[in-house]
């Protein structure tokens, strides 16, 4: 029981909220590029927030349900339909046995997250269920979905009906030129005063050489970010969101599948709450960086975590009730 993959889409992988305690083995934490959308998609169905869900990139798959399921789709709007009928994002939707879930044009964002009540059933590898494409492990057989795959779902009793609707404040509005808030990195002051200013005023374009490991950016005016000190940086730890500047002066934003150590100067680190905005950018989109203090970034993080916990508790209770309620 589960879903049959009729068409796999561009890059459809099982992801969760990432692995912990594997960095010292050189293994990426991985997980959803936009963890916020994956977590909300799961919470809407009463799942644990880290349950395995599908990360769908730009061109979605075609899936046929093998029985009735409650699903939810969050993140970028890839125009999902069930048997040709448009379905809403950010709320639970029922798909019946034999119905076909398809995706159309990408209207906003870049990545959609499809959760199913109970979660997809994949083995845990190194305490995670996310697909590590480089390590060829985790997720569905360590790879992106392919035509003809059977995607199993954990067998739980599916609710008869429900109609939660999230308030507007929960639903991010993906922009094509977002402002990404950034904390100064360890080597920020080793850049020239001009480059420090340019970093926060220039417009950067996401190049096609961007993937789950990192977003390679290019300043719109082409000017490189330069350092007044050219000494080498000894390879040391990097985390998702670290913005490195290699010798060509064009920044790279490290993303979910990034390596665990790096040797390029770190001009900044993206505030954790803004990683989803970055992850929803597609090649060709523009971004600007906005300075934020560490204290502000941690305040925003704590605020978001508290909200998600409250939402989680609320929805979990709702899912235990026999019928639906409205959440506004």
């Amino acid at each position: 029981m589960g879903f049959l993959v009729v068409r796999p889409g561009l890059l459809t992988t099982i992801q969760d909220t990432g692995r912990m305690n594997v960095g010292k083995f050189g293994v990426a934490s991985g997980g959803a590029m936009d963890p916020y959308s994956l977590r909300v998609a799961n919470l809407l169905l009463g799942n644990p927030q880290s349950a395995p869900a599908l990360e769908i990139t730009l061109i979605g798959p075609e899936l046929v349900a093998q029985r009735d399921y409650w699903i939810s789709i969050c993140g970028g709007d890839l125009s999902p339909t069930i048997d040709g009928e448009e379905i809403p994002l950010w709320r639970p939707v029922q798909i019946l046995k034999g119905q076909s879930l398809r995706f159309g044009p990408c209207v906003s964002g870049f990545r959609g997250y499809l959760a199913v009540n109970g979660g997809f059933s994949v083995p845990s590898v190194l305490k995670g269920t996310g697909t590590d494409l480089r390590g060829k492990m985790g997720g569905f057989q360590g790879r992106a979905l392919g035509k003809g795959d059977w995607l199993p779902v954990v067998n739980v009793e599916q609710m008869p009906r429900c109609s939660f609707r999230l308030g507007k404040e929960w639903i991010p509005h993906w922009q094509e030129s977002p402002k990404i808030r950034v904390i100064h990195g360890a080597e920020f002051s080793s850049f020239t005063i001009q480059s420090q200013q340019d970093f926060f005023t220039d417009v950067f374009q996401v190049t096609p050489r961007s993937d789950r490991m990192g977003y390679r950016l290019q300043a719109r005016d082409g000017s490189p970010l330069l350092r007044h000190l050219q000494e080498d940086v000894i390879s040391s730890g990097v985390v998702t969101g670290t913005i490195q500047v290699p010798p060509d002066g064009q920044p790279i934003v490290l993303m979910a599948d990034c390596q665990t150590v790096g040797g390029y100067p770190r001009i900044g680190v993206v505030a954790t709450v803004d990683l989803p905005k970055m992850a929803q950018c597609k090649p060709g989109d523009y971004v600007t960086f906005e300075e934020i203090t560490l204290e502000e970034a941690q305040d925003l993080y704590i605020h978001q975590e508290r909200s998600l916990r409250i939402l989680g508790m609320y929805l979990e209770r709702e899912w235990r009730k026999p019928s639906c309620t409205q959440l506004t």
Partner: protein, 242 residues
Amino acid sequence: MAGKDQINIYPLGDCAVVVEFATQMNNSLYPYITAFTDFIESQPFPGFIECIPSYTSVSVLYDPYAYLQYPSPFQEIKKILLKKIEQLTIDSQSKARHITIPVCYGGEWGPDLSCVAAYHGISEEEVIHIHSSAYYQVYMLGFSPGFPYIGGMPKKISTPRKSTPRLKVPSGSVGIGGEQTGIYPLETPGGWNIIGQTPFTLFQPEHMPPTLLQRGDQVTFVPITQEEFVKIQREEKLKWDF
């Protein structure tokens, strides 16, 4: 502990800090970094996620939500880590494991052995002899799953990376990249000069720990024949495939 006042703790974004033990590479740092990592892992503080040790520093990942009642979670973490560093004792009797890696040098297993020999104007046998007579240490794992950064290669066989990286380097390939030697745990692209291949499996995600080599291991390489390579490879398969 000597040099505790040289330790610098700085933020790496809003969910991590770096504990930097020195700003220069220095072999004597190794026991400090190990002791610190072991100590934090054995006595984790609230919100601790993981330690990622590297050459001169340790990245400590944490969840700021565990410090929501404080004005600055980072400052709290810094205080906690400084206190931990005060309590740190260094075990000078290192308990390093010693691991011997069998390598089939040259031929189809090491297509660049002849280039390395030619680059230095010595015979292939001499390159093998130099590479397999040295004692090495694993400084850290990184770059890709299980990839060991191995220090200690004699400079007389250091060879620049290839100008055009190979798109596929088979797993187990032993290479020389500049002054470093390393082993590719997975089939990946790579620009190092491949001088041989080990039949050992370096990365096994189903096992804990998932890597054959660990940070701190002492390593030597021993030359084997093609027949031995095939035999060990068969035994490795049986070991993991039950």
